[in-house]
């Protein structure tokens, strides 16, 4: 059995689209809602900017989980970007699962600019789950460990 490290703080890379989710994250901050400081936000123009390679690179550099946030379906600033994201990420997540990488380390959520509370909730849930799972060992790069 794996011994749980109580001090383990999962590192999370959270891609947020500029138009909805990034504003949502901002709102969470200005409303003083709490979510773990280990969630690192990367702003992207649209959720469909996320190349599968970005997700892999985040894991390589030590992320324990990667979450992509975009506008709700129908609300994408570029009309349809998030529909393409949805297909791509479904396939990518399924492939990671197929390779035996824990399927709960990846996630896609729709967070609007008004959903600050939801942003904080989603992050707390995601981090909580990662906390239970422990560190990412299967898809990390030993050269990038301190």
């Amino acid at each position: 059995m794996q011994v749980k490290d109580q001090n383990f703080k999962p590192l999370v890379v959270s891609f947020c689209c500029n138009w909805c989710s990034y504003a949502g994250a901002d709102l969470a901050g200005s409303s003083r809602l709490e979510y773990p400081a280990e969630v690192k936000i990367i702003r992207i123009p649209c959720s469909c900017r996320v190349d599968p390679l970005f997700v892999l690179r985040a894991f390589q550099r030590g992320a324990d989980g990667v979450i992509i946030n975009g506008c709700h379906p129908g609300d994408c600033h570029y009309t349809s970007g998030n529909y393409f994201t949805r297909r791509r990420m479904t396939l990518l997540f399924s492939m990671l699962d197929y390779l035996g990488i824990e399927r709960e380390r990846t996630r896609l959520e729709w967070v609007s600019a008004a959903e600050g509370a939801r942003f904080a909730k989603v992050m707390n849930e995601f981090v909580g789950k990662l906390h239970e799972m422990g560190a990412n060992k299967r898809l990390g790069d030993i050269r990038c460990k301190e």
Binding site: L56, Q60, F93, M95, Y98, I101, R107, G140, R143
Partner: protein, 320 residues
């Protein structure tokens, strides 16, 4: 075939013929371009012509001339894919569809202990002469992996068909059998399986180079700034990454031609990655076969308002 090639080449109807050329050994054949009618003596078509000629048409198509190409039924799917992406101009091609009875895998012969082959007679049973004596064995025992799930005998694109028996009459196996088996395992078992396979990869890039869907002029794996261009995989991570990205780039475009696994010098079953994508795409977005037509219709280039959410993956049954 040779006669037809001779006719078209000497009449000037085509400037080049793309076919297979005899090598030193009976099982040695390689794709070749013939420009000279005399040289056509070296042309062959036998059970070892498994290689798919479509990708060579990209290079050939750059010349200002018409090319005669011979395609097996499965190869025509790859060509359709290339046509749909405007990688090859249809009007520069003269396509002759040829029959196929399933191609042979020399590695499978070797694992059966058949070495030093000096001659082969191809029928339902193969008669093989070797330096150490003769062998007889049924053809279906040594077919290439891709032929075990043959897409059928129809040529999807051609100008003419030749040969009396055009049927690709290999048994239609369930192409998803192995994928489904892996899906049924626990993630830890799958992880172990893929580590075992992918750690054999020497990053020779043959799988990418042979793939008729990998046609980017500038491949991400050659781009020194991409951070993924390392020649040899330095860590487990790079092995995983190379394979995930390569398979992802051809998702929705891979016609399941099986070339990637056929050419892998390490015998890695890479087609199982592509088939996983094909299975998922067909499952989530409707039955799909790339190269069925020459239209651009990749499921990753379109969407449906009612598509499933990716989180169905994390909600799958079972442990991590």
């Amino acid at each position: 075939m040779r006669q037809k090639a001779h006719e078209l080449l000497s009449s000037g109807a085509v400037g080049a013929v793309l076919a297979w050329e005899k090598g030193e050994l009976p099982y040695d054949t390689s794709p070749a371009v013939f420009r000279d009618a005399e040289a056509l003596d070296k042309m062959v078509y036998n059970g070892f012509c498994g290689s798919n000629l479509s990708k060579y048409l990209i290079e050939q198509g750059k010349q200002d001339e018409k090319v005669l190409v011979f395609l097996k039924p499965c190869d025509t799917y790859s060509l359709n894919q290339l046509l749909s992406e405007n990688r090859v101009a249809r009007e520069k091609l003269h396509i002759i569809g040829i029959g196929c009875k399933g191609k042979l895998d020399v590695e499978k012969l070797r694992t059966q202990g058949i070495k030093g082959i000096t001659g082969i007679e191809e029928n339902e049973t193969l008669k093989i002469q070797t330096l150490y004596g003769d062998h007889e064995l049924p053809r279906e025992d040594v077919l290439l992996e891709k032929c075990l799930s043959c897409k059928g005998k129809d040529h999807k694109v051609y100008d003419e068909l030749i040969g009396e028996d055009l049927s690709a009459d290999t048994e239609q196996g369930d192409k998803y059998a192995k994928v489904a088996e892996l899906e049924g395992q626990t993630p830890a078992e799958r992880f172990a399986f893929w580590r075992g396979e992918l750690s054999k990869c020497i990053r020779c890039n043959a799988c990418r180079n042979t793939c008729p869907s990998c046609t980017c002029l500038k491949c991400v794996f050659d781009n020194a700034h991409s951070g993924v261009a390392a020649k040899v995989n330095a860590t487990e991570f790079e092995e995983n990454m190379f394979h995930i990205i390569r398979a992802f780039h051809v998702a929705g475009r891979c016609s399941d031609c099986g070339e990637c696994s056929r050419v892998c010098p390490q015998g890695i079953p890479i087609h199982l990655l592509n088939r996983k994508f094909i299975k998922d795409i067909s499952g989530f977005y409707g039955e799909f076969q790339a190269g069925e037509t020459a239209e651009l219709n990749s499921p990753l280039l379109c969407y449906d308002l009612e598509d499933a959410e990716p989180n169905i993956i994390s909600k799958r049954e079972g442990d991590n």
